[in-house]
C-alpha cells in the first residue's frame, strides 16, 4: 500500500465532516423560523444578564506576568533534554547546566528585587 492509499480513510472522514459542517447550518437557515430580536442578540439568551463587553482592558500587570511566563516556559526546554541525558553527560553536563541555571536565577532575583512581581 502506498502512503497515498493509507490516507484514503482520513480523506473520506475529512469529506464527510465538511459535508455535515456545511449541511446543518444551511438546513437550519432554510427550515428554521427567523425572528431576530433585541434579547436574542445577547451573549446569554436566557438567565444571566451580561455585565459588559468581552474585550475589556486588563491592567498591565497581567502582561508583566505573561511576559515572565513566556521566558520561564521556554527556558524549560533546555532542562528537558538535559534530564534525559544527564547520566551520560556526567560532571561536564552538570557544570554547564549549573552555570545556565545560576544565570537564569540571578535574572529572576533581579526581576523580583526590581518589584516586577508586586501585585499592588
Amino acid at each position: 500500500m502506498t502512503i497515498a492509499q493509507l490516507y484514503i480513510p482520513v480523506a473520506v472522514l475529512f469529506g464527510i465532516s465538511i459535508f455535515f459542517a456545511l449541511l446543518l447550518p444551511i438546513l437550519s437557515k432554510i427550515l428554521g423560523p427567523n425572528r431576530p430580536g433585541g434579547r436574542k442578540g445577547e451573549a446569554y439568551e436566557s438567565g444571566i444578564v451580561a455585565v459588559g463587553n468581552a474585550q475589556k482592558r486588563l491592567p498591565v500587570k497581567f502582561y508583566r506576568i505573561a511576559i515572565l511566563f513566556i521566558l520561564f516556559d521556554i527556558d524549560i526546554i533546555f532542562l528537558f533534554p538535559y534530564a534525559i541525558a544527564m547520566k551520560k553527560l556526567g560532571l561536564f553536563g552538570l557544570w554547564s547546566m549549573l552555570i545556565f541555571v545560576v544565570i537564569f536565577v540571578l535574572g529572576d532575583i533581579w526581576v523580583w528585587k526590581r518589584g516586577v512581581l508586586e501585585w499592588e
Binding site: 502506498t2 502512503i3 497515498a4 498591565v60 502582561y63 511576559i67 513566556i70 521566558l71 526546554i77 533546555f78
Partner: protein, 102 residues
C-alpha cells in the same frame, strides 16, 4: 506520490514562510505583523526538523530549541513595546506611526 519526501516539507515550509512574509508586508496591526513573523520563524523550524530527520543528524533539532528561545525573547520585548506604545497613543496600528518623515 509514494512517499512523503523531503521535497514536500521544503514546499510546505516555503508556503508557510511566504504566508508569514506576505502578512508582514500586508497587515497593519503590529500584533498581527508580529504573529506573521513568528510564522516565518516556525517555517524555519519545520525545515530544520525535516532536514534533521532526512539527514539523520541531530543538529537541526538543537537549532529548533535555540530558535524557539530567541523567538520567546523577542516576544517578551515585542509585547512590552506594544503595551508601552498602546499606553501612549491607544493604538498599535503601524499606519498611525508616521511621526517622522523626510
Amino acid at each position: 506520490m509514494d512517499e512523503v519526501t523531503i521535497g514536500w516539507y521544503i514546499a510546505l515550509a516555503a508556503i508557510l514562510f511566504s504566508m508569514g512574509a506576505l502578512g508582514v508586508l500586508v497587515r497593519r496591526n503590529a500584533l498581527i505583523i508580529f504573529m506573521s513573523i513568528e510564522l516565518m520563524l516556525n517555517a524555519g523550524n519545520l525545515l530544520f526538523v525535516a532536514f534533521a530527520r532526512h539527514l539523520g543528524d541531530l543538529d537541526g533539532q538543537i537549532w529548533v530549541f535555540f530558535t524557539m528561545t530567541v523567538a520567546a525573547a523577542e516576544v517578551a520585548v515585542g509585547l512590552a513595546l506594544a503595551v508601552s506604545i498602546f499606553r501612549n497613543r491607544d493604538s498599535v496600528n503601524i499606519d498611525d506611526m508616521n511621526m517622522m518623515k523626510g
